[in-house]
């Protein structure tokens, strides 16, 4: 376990792997003049392919904004956001929509399944939107891995929170996106279901080769990641490789209290 605090801009931690997503001087300002808020202030960060990265930071640190910009959900004020070889800040709304449809998957805090469709229909939705056929082998793998076999014909309100989030993960992975962005995926779950979901996310990286970027404020959740990127006041405040709950907690403490020494 290595730690570099504070080290903006953070160099790619694993230069040998290609970048799945990358921010270069990424800046997002809400409002103008006196009331302008710098949600992101020149962020440079790279997320390697095949890696499970957690973005952490206190409330208002800009972690959600960073994720939204990298996922093509929002437009930057300045700087560049790259998804693989595509520069997102040059794309218009329709191009971004198609990019999200084909190359990005989402997992939300409140699951966001469509209530009138069954689990199976929800999982199939992204491929239907893209007009492609769902790879049945991949579908079976996902359903099997996530343990959804006997829940496929249920509607969301007939499923527990953990089951709903597993369906949401299956939905996010169904089109084999380049990157899955997860926004507080365990925020609405009890700890047992949360653990389950995090294990699935980690397995999908280890066993299925998926790239996942997860925003969380829970150190225990962050510890499932391969690497933790720390954000504070819209800037990269450090990163922790192979984190543990303790090291993440220590990193967060250091953010709140820069004078304190960090346990290494």
């Amino acid at each position: 376990m290595t730690q570099t605090i504070p080290s903006p801009p953070s160099p790619p931690s694993r230069p040998e792997t290609p970048a799945a997503a990358r921010a270069v001087g990424l800046t997002k300002i809400y409002g103008r003049g006196d009331v302008a808020v710098h949600a992101l202030d020149g962020v440079d960060v790279t997320f390697a392919a095949g890696e499970f990265t957690a973005i952490m930071g206190p409330s208002g640190s800009g972690k959600s904004t960073l994720m939204h910009l990298l996922a093509g959900l929002d437009t930057a004020t300045a700087g560049q956001a790259w998804l693989g070889g595509t520069e997102l800040t040059t794309l218009n709304d329709d191009q971004l929509t198609l990019l999200r449809r084909q190359r990005v998957g989402f997992v939300f805090q409140s699951f966001n399944l469509l209530p009138m469709f069954t689990a199976a229909q929800n999982i199939a939705l992204p491929s239907q939107l893209a007009g492609t056929r769902l790879d049945t082998e991949w579908y079976d793998t996902l359903v099997g891995t996530l343990g959804l076999g006997d829940r496929l014909s249920h509607k969301p309100h007939e499923l527990s929170g953990g089951q709903q989030q597993r369906v949401a993960i299956a939905r996010a992975l169904s089109t084999r996106p380049e990157v899955v962005f997860a926004d507080e995926p365990t925020g609405n779950l009890d700890s047992r279901s949360g653990t389950e979901v995090l294990s699935f996310l980690r397995r999908s990286v280890r066993e299925l080769g998926q790239t996942i970027v997860m925003v969380t404020h829970d150190p225990a959740a962050a510890a499932y990641a391969d690497r933790v990127v720390l954000l504070a006041d819209g800037r990269i405040a450090g990163s922790i490789t192979d984190p543990t709950p303790e090291s993440v907690l220590a990193g967060l403490d250091a953010l709140r209290n820069p004078a304190a020494t960090v346990v290494g």
């Binding site: 959900l73 709304d93 329709d94 989402f106 239907q128 939107l129």
Partner: protein, 858 residues
């Protein structure tokens, strides 16, 4: 609590505006109906008032005519300065430009008794003087100083002939152009004694009697005592003595029966518009309450009672209803004011005036009805609001409850629909069953009453039951929208809240059902009437010679055949034959085809049975109907033939035989008649005129060709059709308001969907749904909801229309029920387009929503 209510209203201003538009349109209808009716009544009243000049008193004969003695008695009464009888006399006046029949009144003996004003010259004071209305003089081409020939006809009883009397009169003055339809004698004035003399002459010497005497009082005379004196004058005991305002009010009241009918019909349409508005408002408030669940619960948490919550919702409804009704009042008044101006400008003789009589009942009724409907519609939502539990504030916001409808509702639906349908069928059976009996009219009215009631009950059943029906129909229609993800989601969304969707479609069902019912009824009426006309007047155009000793020329036949709009022609020989059974004989007009085929030109099948040895014969005055018996027919030269009589609707004392039979019976018969059938798309009036012109041209070019009279049923048929079409257009225009209100409701429901599904739509956008697809999704949802409404309303309207036509037209004989496809297609297209249009604004706000912002709502 008032502050909280007002703040909430401000926050949901947009949604309330939609509800307000619904009530605005409904109340505008009410205000416009009341004002239009009052304007018509005022116009009638003004017209009557004007027709008595400035008379102080009017002696009204009340059916006991006033003769010269009574007039003298009036004139002799103390306090009466002068009295004029109201009488008028028609003269044919000839000027350089035209000859016109003009109605004259006597020159008034006092300016106060003058009806109409002299614009130039002076009044007629001698027997050889005449005053004309300026517009009449203009049309005739005469001026003051001209001497004009006049004439009238006198009937001579002894010789049973009309005799023409003529005279020459000098124009000495002009009256202001008449702007008052009811003002009598407005065409001109004659010296009173001359007028009386002519009238008496025309009457064959009998003395003249009058209906009305206008009285002017002497200076200082007391009105009431003169009135009493007049009343007790000899011969006037049965007459009434009125002041002009009293008489005008009395006459207006008599005339107002038709105005009341107009008002009732208009208010009937207003009631339809308002009930649709009520549905939309109820829906809107339910939506508002659902949206505010959290706020309401919070209010309950901090101590608001159920009563306060209920009052808050009802207060909101009252305020919205009041504001919208005020706007509706303004709109309705504006429409009537503009309408009055337009009418006044369009017709010089308009009696409407340019102002609108605005009296207190108009605003009171309009505002009252508007607020009441809004309040009633808000009762259910208010109850919903009181049911919000305080703990709801502490729970995350759930989607609206999707509870199904109860068993009671199902029972009510089935019962109402069945009972209504049975009553409807009963009404039809009653009317049709007794249509050939003496009590047909009573049966028709009874059937109509039962049928209308049954229709209302079954419509209630359909509306109550739409919560079952609509969610089942939507997926079927949704399949037509395709299998794309947006279409599938739209279909699924549309059925998510069955009650709301059902309430939305109900508003549309009412409007569409009424529109389709009217169209179907009018269509059936048109066809039934046309069939009726076809058999009574089977030939479109008939060109006949006046003098049957001369035949039409081939050029004339050719001219008719070549006329644009004429599809087929046939020529006929005509003669007269005597037919008899036993001692009874009669003459009938005999017709036989000369060239062409009668089957091509006649619209009835009356002549289908015409073969050798047969005479197709209409009803004869002397012999009645002849059916099947063989009768001896005697021709012009005494030839006899025994022919079998086949009754047919070919006209009274008219008979058709084959050309061979005609050749034997009337060998010298001329070709006197041309029958022509018009093309189905031909303009009847224009074509009939063209035929007349064509034969006239031939006659003018060839002096030996006979003059032809052109007639036929086509023009009449077209006129009937036009009356029905015009009535239908007016009715549909009025019902369109209800449909428009219902479409406001569709837009309302959709924008609610957008609000409720912000997060879902954001999720879809994140997953790759484009803005266009999101718009399309809402458009499909709007079109689906509108189509279901149109479908249910269309089917119901068709059945109601048929039932209504069967009840009302069943007595007319051959009932012809049809499907008005063009109107149905129009309704379908309007529903599709309206669904699309209704989705535009909600879709705009939906695509503006950034997915990030929507995902962050929690």
């Amino acid at each position: 609590m008032l502050r909280a209510t007002l703040d909430q209203m401000r926050a949901s201003a947009g949604r309330l505006t939609a509800a307000a538009i619904a009530i605005l349109l409904g109340t505008a209808f009410v205000a416009a109906s009341l004002l239009a009716s009052a304007t018509m009544e005022r116009a009638t009243h003004d017209a009557f008032t004007a027709s008595y000049g400035d008379a102080d008193l009017v002696v009204d004969a009340q059916g006991v005519p006033i003769g010269p003695e009574e007039v003298a008695a009036v004139r002799g009464t103390d306090g009466v300065a002068t009295a004029d009888v109201q009488s008028w006399f028609g003269l044919e006046v000839t000027g350089p430009r035209a000859t016109e029949w003009v109605s004259f009144s006597p020159t008034p003996s006092d300016p106060r008794l003058a009806v109409g004003t002299l614009s130039s010259g002076r009044d007629a004071t001698a027997a050889d003087e005449i005053v004309l209305a300026a517009d009449v003089a203009e049309r005739l081409g005469v001026e003051i100083g001209d001497v004009v020939p006049v004439g009238f006809q006198v009937y001579d009883e002894a010789t049973d002939t009309q005799e023409q009397r003529t005279d020459r009169l000098e124009v000495v003055g002009l009256l202001e152009a008449s702007d008052n339809f009811f003002a009598m004698g407005a065409g001109g004035r004659l010296e009173p004694e001359a007028l009386d003399a002519w009238r008496t002459e025309q009457n064959g010497g009998d003395p003249e009697f009058y209906g009305t005497v206008l009285v002017a009082l002497a200076d200082g005379a007391d009105l009431e005592s003169v009135r009493a004196d007049l009343q007790s004058a000899p011969g006037l005991a049965d007459a009434s003595v009125w002041t002009v305002p009293e008489l005008a009010a009395e006459r207006t009241a008599q005339e107002t029966g038709s105005n009341v009918t107009f008002l009732v019909v208009m208010l009937g349409f207003a009631a339809v518009a308002l009930s649709v508005a009520g549905l939309v408002i109820s829906n809107t408030f339910q939506v508002l309450v659902a949206q505010r669940t959290r706020t309401l619960a919070l209010l309950r948490c901090v101590g608001a009672s159920r009563g306060q919550i209920r009052r808050s919702v009802l207060l909101e409804a009252t305020l919205v209803g009041l504001l919208a009704s005020l706007a509706g009042l303004a709109l309705g008044t504006g429409v009537v004011m503009i309408g009055v101006r337009v009418l006044d400008g369009a017709f010089a003789s308009s009696t409407i005036g340019t102002t609108v009589p605005f009296s207190w009942p108009v605003p009171v009724v309009t505002l009252g009805v508007g607020v009441l409907v809004t309040l009633l519609s808000a009762l259910v939502p208010a109850r919903m609001a009181t049911r919000v539990a305080p703990v709801a504030a502490l729970r995350p916001v759930e989607g609206p409850s999707e509870q199904g409808a109860g068993r009671l509702r199902m029972t009510l639906t089935v019962a109402a629909t069945l009972v209504g349908a049975l009553m409807l069928a009963g009404g039809v059976a009653l009317s049709l069953g007794l249509s050939d009996t003496d009590s047909a009219d009573a049966a028709m009215l009874g059937g109509l009453a039962i049928g209308v009631l049954g229709g209302l009950i079954s419509l209630t059943g359909i509306l109550v039951g739409s919560v079952f029906l609509v969610p089942r129909l939507l997926p079927l229609l949704g399949r037509l929208a395709g299998k794309s993800v947006p279409a599938r989601i739209a279909t699924a969304n549309a059925v998510r809240n069955p009650r709301r969707t059902a309430a939305t479609t109900n508003a549309l069902v009412i409007g569409v059902a009424l529109v389709v019912m009217m169209s179907t009824g009018a269509y059936s009426a048109r066809h039934t009437l046309m069939d009726e006309l076809d058999s009574s007047f089977p030939v479109d155009v008939v060109a006949q010679v006046g003098d049957t000793s001369v035949g039409v020329t081939p050029e004339q036949v050719e001219a008719v055949r070549q006329t644009e709009g004429v599809a087929a022609t046939a020529t006929l020989r005509t003669g007269s034959v005597e037919i008899g059974t036993g001692d009874l004989t009669t003459y009938v007009d005999l017709m036989a085809v000369d060239s062409g085929d009668l089957g091509d030109v006649m619209r009835s099948d009356a002549l289908d049975g015409l073969t050798d040895g047969v005479m197709v014969i209409g009803w004869t005055y002397e012999l009645g109907d002849l059916d099947g018996e063989t009768v001896t027919v005697t021709g012009s030269d005494g030839t006899t033939l025994d022919l079998r009589m086949v009754p047919g609707d070919v006209g009274q004392n008219t008979a058709y035989v084959t050309p061979e039979a005609a050749e034997m019976l009337v060998p010298d018969a001329q070709v006197t008649t041309i029958y022509a059938r018009m093309a189905d798309d031909a303009d009847a009036v224009a074509t009939a005129g063209a035929v007349q012109n064509a034969v006239n041209e031939v006659t003018e070019a060839d002096g030996s060709a006979p003059v032809l009279q052109v007639g036929g049923a086509a023009v009449e048929r077209a006129a009937y059709g036009q009356v029905i079409d015009t009535l239908l257009a007016v009715v549909l225009g009025l019902l369109a308001v209800a449909v428009i209100i219902a479409l406001v409701g569709v837009a309302n429901t959709l924008s609610l969907s957008v609000l409720e599904r912000r997060r879902e739509n954001a999720t879809l956008r994140a997953m790759g749904l484009t803005r266009g697809q999101l718009r399309g999704m809402l458009a499909v949802e709007g079109v689906l909801i509108a189509s279901v409404g149109a479908l249910v309303g269309g089917v119901a309207g068709l059945l109601y229309g048929w039932a209504g036509a069967a009840v009302v037209l069943g007595g007319l004989g051959s009932l012809s029920l049809g499907v008005p496809w063009p109107q149905l297609a129009a309704v379908a297209v309007i529903a599709l387009v309206a669904g699309l249009v209704a989705s535009v604004l909600p879709a705009r706000s939906a695509v503006r929503q950034s997915p990030v912002a929507a995902l962050a709502t929690d």
